[in-house]
């Protein structure tokens, strides 16, 4: 399942990223490490996003293993 972000989640993401220079559409590419051209105001948020994403990806990999 790879669906567009639902409106409530989009509003939540925008609220959490306020002040970082990032917006909802930026969050997933930054978290997944696909976007690295970040404004200085986003560096701390980006590091935390990447750690959260990587942790989730790690558990997903473990779940997929038989």
């Amino acid at each position: 399942m790879n669906q567009p972000m639902n409106p409530a989640l989009r509003r939540y993401v925008d609220r959490l990223l306020a002040g970082t220079g990032l917006h909802a559409q930026d969050a997933e590419p930054v978290a997944a490490g696909q976007r690295r051209d970040l404004p200085p105001s986003a560096v701390t948020a980006a590091a935390a996003l990447r750690d959260g994403w990587d942790t989730a990806a790690l558990t997903a990999t473990q779940r997929a293993q038989p």
Partner: protein
């Protein structure tokens, strides 16, 4: 703190894959041998109850019939063991307490009412095996690809955990999903406290003690202390989970850094932290190991935070009392608060209870005691505010 962004990425990952993301490797719910799934609500003065257990499909009843139904499901304080209330609705237990308060203490449903009262008492203890709030348990174990408000609705969890049945049978299925892995290790100590409390409640009921009476000062004080101890124990239990520790780096409860040895010391080390937002304070006892927060270490070192300072923009913690497994300079270590000992906690509570009964203690004589302060966990404060 950066935990909101860490959690946000997990939400985005869940939305991307369509699978909830685990926040824990373990389950935050202890083993539940006798679950009773219940929904209850007050309607026009009546209390309507729907209940089921693994051997009996859902049955609806109201008022006294509802109490009889619960009694048939083993919800009796005179039974051999306790039943666990399993629900997805925070209004269910207050509705049951309303029903229990209407009973005659000496009547045929007195045993059922006393069991409900025990549920209400133990519901304040995180990690208890007396009451399982499925929504809270699921939120502790997973993150979904929705906003946090949506996660307060049981329907969100049924959808994400693939439990289509929205009746009491579905509650038992949800319980099965939430508990399909090993429990957090320290939960066993909380279950032991449940057992002690259950035996006490059964004994008091047999002796004719009425749970409707307001608590004495001693009972209220020891109850508050027990709640605080359990909240501390549950926090420590969560920190025992590798995934939770990785997240706790972003709250400052787990610290990662590099070791150095101060000159002319044999049992001190310094740890230069990766981050400035550590929550460890001077006087805290800590447990550490060489490696990352998610590692299960072969050996641990222990110490006390003797000093904190900032050097060249980096937070430096000085640990004293590091007598065994002292890490070498340059190694990277993880520090967590040392978990409290359930045995020490119980002994402390027993001493505290004795102070309330001993005729010459400072509590019963009114002498000014030696001040000893502690933080009351936020969960306990919130539960207390909700009770008033």
């Amino acid at each position: 703190m950066t935990v909101e962004w860490f959690d946000l990425a997990q939400r985005l990952h869940a939305a991307h894959t369509g699978h909830p993301v685990p926040r824990l490797i373990h389950t935050p719910v202890p083993p539940i041998p006798h679950p009773v799934a219940v929904r209850a609500r007050v309607q026009a003065g009546s209390v309507l109850v729907t209940a089921a257990d693994p051997t009996m499909p859902a049955v609806h009843a109201r008022d006294n019939d509802a109490l009889a139904l619960l009694g048939d499901l083993g919800v009796r304080v005179g039974a051999e063991g306790w039943a666990t209330l399993v629900t997805d609705d925070p209004a269910a237990l207050p509705a049951l307490v309303t029903l229990a308060r209407r009973t005659d203490p000496d009547g045929p449903q007195g045993e059922v009412a006393a069991h409900i009262a025990w549920w209400a008492d133990r519901a304040d203890f995180p990690g208890t095996s007396a009451v399982v709030g499925l929504v809270e348990a699921a939120r502790t174990r997973w993150t979904t690809g929705t906003d946090p408000d949506s996660e307060t609705h049981p329907g969100t969890w049924r959808a994400w955990l693939d439990v289509p049945d929205d009746g009491c049978g579905g509650l038992l299925s949800l319980l099965g999903r939430v508990t399909d892995t090993a429990p957090l290790p320290l939960l066993g100590a909380i279950t032991e406290d449940d057992a002690w409390s259950w035996t006490k409640a059964a004994g008091e009921h047999a002796e004719g003690w009425d749970w409707r009476r307001p608590d004495s000062t001693a009972r209220a004080a020891t109850g508050l202390r027990a709640r605080c101890d359990t909240a501390d124990l549950f926090t420590a239990a969560l920190l025992g989970d590798p995934l939770y520790r990785r997240r706790a780096v972003h709250t400052g409860h787990v610290v990662v850094g590099q070791v150095d040895h101060p000159p002319n010391t044999r049992n001190r080390i310094t740890v230069t932290c990766d981050r400035m937002d550590a929550r460890l304070r001077t006087g805290n006892t800590v447990t550490g190991w060489v490696g990352a927060p998610t590692d299960t270490a072969p050996e641990y070192f222990h110490g006390t935070i003797a000093a904190t300072a900032v050097h060249a923009g980096r937070l430096v913690l000085t640990l004293s009392g590091v007598t065994t497994h002292r890490p070498e300079p340059g190694t990277r270590v993880t520090l967590t608060p040392t978990a409290p000992s359930p045995f020490t906690m119980r002994a402390g509570r027993a001493r505290y209870a004795r102070l309330y009964t001993a005729r010459r203690s400072w509590l019963t004589t009114g002498r000014t005691p030696t001040p000893a302060r502690r933080d009351v966990p936020l969960d306990v404060l919130v539960a207390g505010a909700e009770d008033t």
